[in-house]
């Protein structure tokens, strides 16, 4: 089989592993960019293949401020409030629309919290970027609708998501949440998402064998 080593951004769009493309650094995306809703940004917004990542080799020499090491993983990555916001944002991204599982059905928030304890995700600065995005989201909700995101009705929440999807940083943030939702939907249930193979069943995906067990997950090899 052919595997391409190229990772030029324009070629990497179809790539699927976040390693494929070292996109705009998560830490370099700021609040202003997040709130900006100009369509002119669509070009840049279109670039990230999968998830905004940092150049790991660089961050090793000069750790990004957001990078945490194993020992200081907090007991809970997100506060209860942050989890509430994330749950509702996830339900906009993968809604309960009568066709296939919703974010809640696939344990979206629990999975996300667990994924934030993965060393690579920590190094990529994801927990921090996701937390920051929640703040920006609420800022925008208050600015434009007068209330924080979780106080808004479905239509207004939808509007807000639509709005931030139009800015590069906003789209990056949503794209990162989608990245983890697809993991929760389609990774082996051993990782906490895809309960009872709900995602596989919906998409008629036949798993390979032997499957990982709780003693043989990827973290047991790290």
């Amino acid at each position: 089989m052919l595997k391409s080593a190229s990772s030029l951004p324009h070629k990497a769009k179809q790539g699927s592993l976040k390693n494929d493309y070292q996109g705009p650094l998560a830490s370099g995306l700021n609040r202003r960019a997040f709130l900006k809703t100009s369509t002119a940004i669509a070009l840049l917004a279109g670039l990230p293949a999968c998830k905004p990542t940092q150049d790991v080799t660089k961050s090793n020499n000069n750790p990004a401020p957001s990078a945490t090491t194993n020992k200081d993983i907090p007991a809970s990555v997100f506060s209860d409030y942050q989890k509430k916001v994330l749950a509702q944002v996830q339900m906009q991204l993968l809604p309960d629309d009568g066709d296939g599982p919703s974010a809640q059905d696939i344990n979206g928030v629990d999975y996300l919290e667990w994924a934030m304890t993965d060393q690579q995700n920590i190094q990529d600065g994801d927990p921090d970027f996701i937390r920051k995005g929640i703040g920006w989201l609420d800022d925008l909700a208050v600015q434009t609708k007068g209330e924080v995101f979780i106080q808004l009705d479905q239509t207004n929440q939808h509007n807000i998501i639509e709005k931030i999807a139009g800015s590069s940083a906003g789209e990056n943030w949503l794209s990162l949440l989608m990245y983890y939702l697809t993991e929760a939907l389609l990774l082996d249930p051993v990782y906490g998402g895809n309960p009872d193979q709900i995602g596989w069943n919906w998409l008629e995906h036949q798993a390979g064998f032997p499957r990982p067990t709780s003693e043989t997950t990827y973290r047991d090899f790290e």
Binding site: A5, S16, G46, L47, V56, N60, Q120, E204, Q206
Partner: protein, 563 residues
């Protein structure tokens, strides 16, 4: 790092790298009774460790990590060159190397591949040469690989079938996907010669290895049954308990030391804790995968080799090649097929296993002006990676993020209402002065050694040939009844199918190795991975890497003499 070796051990032969290039040497010399040591920088994992878990590849679990070591890839970017760090060339860094994760599509080279220059003539800007050996020299070793590594298939007569000393493969073909019959019909109607593809996968048990269990996830995934012909399962597992054999895991070779005559005297390696150790041996074999073998020779300087071992004429790292070619797709809309046809397409497990070699040589004067070397088309279903697929579907055709019900519908339609049937085109990537390995001036690995800088310029002729064959593949997809069909020739390097860099030849001024794959200017340093190949042929290389390594094993045994 502590550079002073803390221990020294002596062996007859020290083999660096345990993949497809290293395994045959280790196996043959250990079986013959020589004292063998293999240095492998990864760990020893086996059938019990290999699960069908997408996270293993998402986290590069069995591959070197970019933070530890990497390559600097320099590639054409429009008129310019751009470079960046990559870990894509690490295809497998455990005992058995990338051969644990290959799909095992096995084709032999053809006699003409050994004499590309005299058969097809020079092409301006390309460093094409004839090989110093012929197909006949390698044929017995292809036959040996078919038995020992385990190649399953069925010989079908076709215009470009290479000569064989045996009538057929030793193992019958692996189980076939129901859609293979659609392909045969379409290809026959087009006047082509559909070929069952040989696989380095056991279809029946052999040598304490199980036959394939059709797990549905093969290429990119390790094999739990032992059927896949990795260097570990097929070779190293069978000598590992011998008293005269030792395989050091987590042993990263960083320097081949040479004596006053320029011959190898010892090899230094780091263990897992970063301590240095030394192996002395009569013969040293390098098989680190094409790029890394050049790198090790370049970085091993000595009194006789001030620019790296064998680099007197600046041939080390030169004439690297990837696999030119392209890919194409036939998308079948399941809603437009009968339920029987749709069910057939949905089957996962058995292999599709079809190839076309009708254009291995192209005689189309209006297009090329003369007969030229063409390529092979392999038709395949990609190994499943549902999470990665779903993640890539979040971008719509205008590169905007899709979310909500629109995203869900896209997922559903992709996974349940269509099947993407793919073809891969393999052509020669002509060696040029713009495709080579050197030591990067800035980047160092975690042990403090310079990493390899890989420049991957391509020749425009490759693109023309590839496009020609891609177009033929698209025609087949159309004929098969795909609703959408398209293909693209590419110029980006195929990270898993790199060869060359240390090509063999008679003249030290134009080659790095002699015809026995001994580094020019040395008596006892051999290179046995794909680095030796002056051109890759229009196929995947591993069958040839294995065969050549068995050939060189015989040369080394002859050189070492009686045990």
């Amino acid at each position: 790092m502590k550079n002073q070796p803390t221990t020294t051990k002596d062996f007859d032969i020290c083999i660096i790298g345990s993949g497809a290039g290293g395994g045959p040497i280790a196996y043959e010399l250990a079986q013959a009774g020589y004292r063998v040591v293999v240095l492998e920088k990864g760990g020893w994992f086996d059938e019990a460790d290999f699960k069908k878990d997408e996270m293993l590849s998402r986290r590069n679990i069995f591959r070197s990590k970019i933070a530890d070591e990497r390559h600097v890839l320099e590639e054409p970017d429009g008129e310019d060159w751009s470079s960046h760090n990559t870990s894509e060339f690490w295809g497998g860094n455990i005992v058995g190397g990338a051969s644990n994760f290959m799909s095992g599509y096995f084709h032999r080279l053809k006699p003409e591949d050994f004499r590309l220059l005299s058969e097809f003539g020079a092409i301006e800007g390309a460093n094409i040469v004839d090989w110093p050996i012929t197909y006949n020299d390698l044929e017995p070793y292809y036959t040996k690989v078919e038995q020992l590594i385990g190649v399953s298939g069925k010989i079908v007569k076709h215009p470009h079938l290479e000569p064989r000393s045996t009538a057929d493969y030793p193992f019958p073909p692996t189980a076939e996907h129901p859609v293979s019959a659609w392909f045969d019909k379409a290809a026959n109607e087009l006047g082509l010669h559909p070929l069952p593809m040989a696989r380095a996968i056991l279809s029946t048990p052999y040598n304490q290895r199980n036959s394939c269990e059709y797990s549905g996830y093969c290429g990119s995934y390790g094999c739990h049954s032992g059927a896949k012909g990795s260097s570990r399962a097929a070779l190293l597992d069978h000598v590992k308990t011998k008293n005269n054999f030792q395989l050091m895991t987590q042993a990263k070779a960083y320097q081949i030391n040479t004596d006053q005559k320029g011959n190898a005297s010892s090899v230094d390696y780091y263990d897992n804790a970063g301590s240095s150790h030394r192996i002395t041996a009569k013969v040293v074999t390098v098989a680190c995968y094409a790029i890394e073998s050049s790198r090790l020779l370049l970085s091993s300087t000595g009194a006789k080799h001030p620019d790296g071992i064998g680099n007197r004429y600046q041939q080390i790292g030169k004439n690297l090649h990837c696999c030119a070619g392209g890919t194409g797709h036939g998308i079948f809309d399941l809603t437009q097929l009968t339920s029987q046809q749709a069910d057939a397409l949905k089957v996962r497990g058995p292999f599709f296993n079809r190839a076309l070699q009708d254009w291995y040589f192209i005689d189309d004067k209006p297009v090329f002006g003369k007969r030229v070397k063409g390529g092979t088309i392999d038709f395949v279903f990609d190994p499943p990676s549902p999470t990665a697929d779903a993640n890539s579907l979040k971008w719509d055709d205008n590169n905007n993020l899709l979310w909500g019900s629109a995203f869900k519908q896209r997922l559903k339609s992709h996974f349940t209402q269509s099947r993407d049937f793919k073809f891969e085109v393999f052509c020669d990537w002509l060696p040029t002065d713009n495709c080579h390995v050197s030591l990067d001036a800035n980047e160092k690995d975690k042990w403090g050694s310079a990493v390899a800088r890989v420049k991957v310029g391509f020749h425009p002729h490759d693109l023309k040939v590839a496009q020609y064959i891609v177009d033929q593949g698209v025609n087949v997809m159309k004929k098969m009844g795909a609703q959408k069909y398209y293909g693209n020739a590419f110029t980006s390097p195929t990270s898993n199918l790199i060869a060359g860099g240390l090509r063999f030849g008679k003249d030290p001024k134009t080659s790095a190795l002699d015809p026995d794959c001994r580094v020019h200017g040395t008596d006892n340093i051999f290179v046995t991975d794909g680095s030796f190949m002056p051109n890759g042929g229009s196929i995947t290389p591993t069958f040839t890497i294995y065969a050549n390594a068995f050939r060189v094993a015989d040369k080394i045994k002859a050189q070492l003499g009686k045990v």
